[in-house]
């Protein structure tokens, strides 16, 4: 799924990744690491949002990066969002009802996004991620702020879907349930987590 060749990356002169050469063949992987080691940065690099100067990353497919920040759209309702994405091929609108039910968003359809709780806004982000037609998903902290019942459903769904994904999380138990292999960012290297 991913191949790093002499990959290096620095942020504000602080080296986050150093001389990484690694091939990841698993399709469903988890990524852990302490705060600030560069987990989200790595997702952004894979997504293409951050340029790299050193090395090369080979990526098998184009990816969808989960977005949870709807600040600009806070006056929209979830229904408005559904209407918008229904005209786009980047989202599979045939599964809208299924995921609305799965993530228990049905009662909030006409709420303005700014009036939704942090957890429900996150569910909206996960809802859009599941609907993406991209073959690879980059999901940052999907289990944080979400109730346990929905988290179980998300885990089941992640195991079910036929997509590649990289999930960043601090919740190792949940990660183990959804990942073929977990990687860890440690000492500026990407290593397999035991």
């Amino acid at each position: 799924m991913l191949k790093f060749n002499f990959f290096e990356f620095s942020y504000d002169s602080v080296k986050l990744f150093e001389d990484i050469s690694l091939e990841i063949q698993e399709n469903k992987i988890g990524l852990i690491g302490n705060n600030g080691v560069g987990k989200t940065t790595l997702l952004n690099i894979i997504w293409g949002n951050i340029k790299i100067a050193e090395g090369l990353i080979e990526i098998s497919d184009k990816s969808y990066y989960s977005i949870y920040d709807f600040k600009r759209y806070d006056k929209f309702s979830i229904s408005d969002f559904i209407k918008l994405i229904k005209s786009l091929n980047s989202f599979d609108s045939s599964k809208v009802e299924y995921y609305i039910e799965l993530l228990q968003l049905d009662q909030y359809l006409d709420f303005q996004i700014k009036n939704l709780s942090k957890g429900t806004q996150k569910k909206l982000g996960i809802f859009l991620t599941f609907l993406s037609t991209k073959k690879m998903l980059l999901i940052d902290e999907p289990f944080e702020s979400i109730d346990e019942e929905t988290n179980e459903k998300i885990i089941t769904e992640l195991n079910k879907i036929n997509k590649k994904y990289i999930i960043v999380s601090h919740d190792i138990r949940s990660l183990q349930l959804v990942s073929e292999k977990i990687y860890q960012i440690k000492d500026r290297k990407l290593v397999a987590y035991d």
């Binding site: 340029k51 990353i57 080979e58 990066y65 600009r72 929209f76 408005d80 005209s87 091929n89």
Partner: protein, 436 residues
Amino acid sequence: MIKDFDLIFCKITISRNTVNIKKQLLIGFLVLISLIGLFIYNISYAKVCILIFLVFTSILCLIESEIFLEAKDIKIFDIEIGSIDFFKTYISQKIFRDNYVSNIIIVFGFSIFLGIKDMHSLIWFLCIMLAYLIYMPIKHIIGTDCSNMVIILVIIDMMVIASLILGTVKNFKIMNLILLNNFDIYKIAGFILILTCILKVLFTFTNNKKIILKINKIQGKNYYKLISWMKKIDIYLYKDYLINFQHICINIITILVTFLIMNDLMAFKDIYITIIIFIIPSGIFMTKTKGKYNLINDDEFFNNANISNEDLKYIKMKKLQTVLTEVLIKLTISSIVLVIYNDFSIITIVEILTLVIIISIVNYIIILRNTIVSLCYLSVIKYTVVILAVLRHLLNINFFIYCSYLVIVFILSCILVKSILEEEKTNHEKKKCNIK
């Protein structure tokens, strides 16, 4: 409060505020020279401008911004609101998070000038500056703790501005506010109304600047309903209007204010020329933040690598549709003006419509092709259309040449729009990473 907090706080604020010294020096000296020039030309007029500026900037203390700290931020340091420490902290962050280099040049430079020229005015100026500094935190405290007082506060500010204008009315030449007949009183009322509208827009329709005041938050909740009818026409049009509503309102108000002021100043015999110069080339969706057009940049969910090239083309089409709605807005404004000035005719409206359509398409291209080179040649195209339209009316240039140029610009714009719609997004993934 810890010992030397003020000093440490000021030092950190200064060191964290990235300052473009050259730019600030330039702005500082330009404003200082303008202010001195204005003072030499007319003392009362200069004083009115200073006071209006200070009243307006003090109103900004009621608005939550991304630049300045608020009461809740200062509370983090366990500083009690309303205490002397609060006043000191609030004032110092307001000074040092702002363009303090320019401001220092203006205040000190102008004080030295006044000290040489007119000692009474210097005392007046220093008193006003001191009152302004004390007034800012007071206003912020009222905005934070006594939200029901805010409307009264804004009305008082408006009355101050109105009385300033009326008090120096004989010197206020730009607005031509000489109280000779009833019509001038209407002009003053109109001016105050426009100022109130700008404030209302600032207070109510905000995206990244939120209002601190609860009373305005309640009013602000309902504005999206005003345009909810657009959903039935097109959900993407609704999206663009909702995200950019504040900018659209401010741009329309700016167009109207500029038109009214310039119409007074330039006193063209033909109102149509003023319309061509000040209404037609304006861009209702052309607001920029940090060099990027908000119409595209604020719509971040629908403008990133998550969206396929095919969908991006569709979204660009929808943006074109949104930009073209400014044709309707400008046409309506122009028609109202023409009716008021008794100059309305079908031929004029058809000509305005043609010009506005061409300019709107060019505006759309500028928004999408946001590079300096594109901006230069597109601006040349845009303003040659305007100049030619003005010349046609002033010098009666050949109608065939005029129409031919419009047709050429229209065809060229359509070709550019087509190429923009068909260009694939810069595949940054491909640039930096290999995708098999």
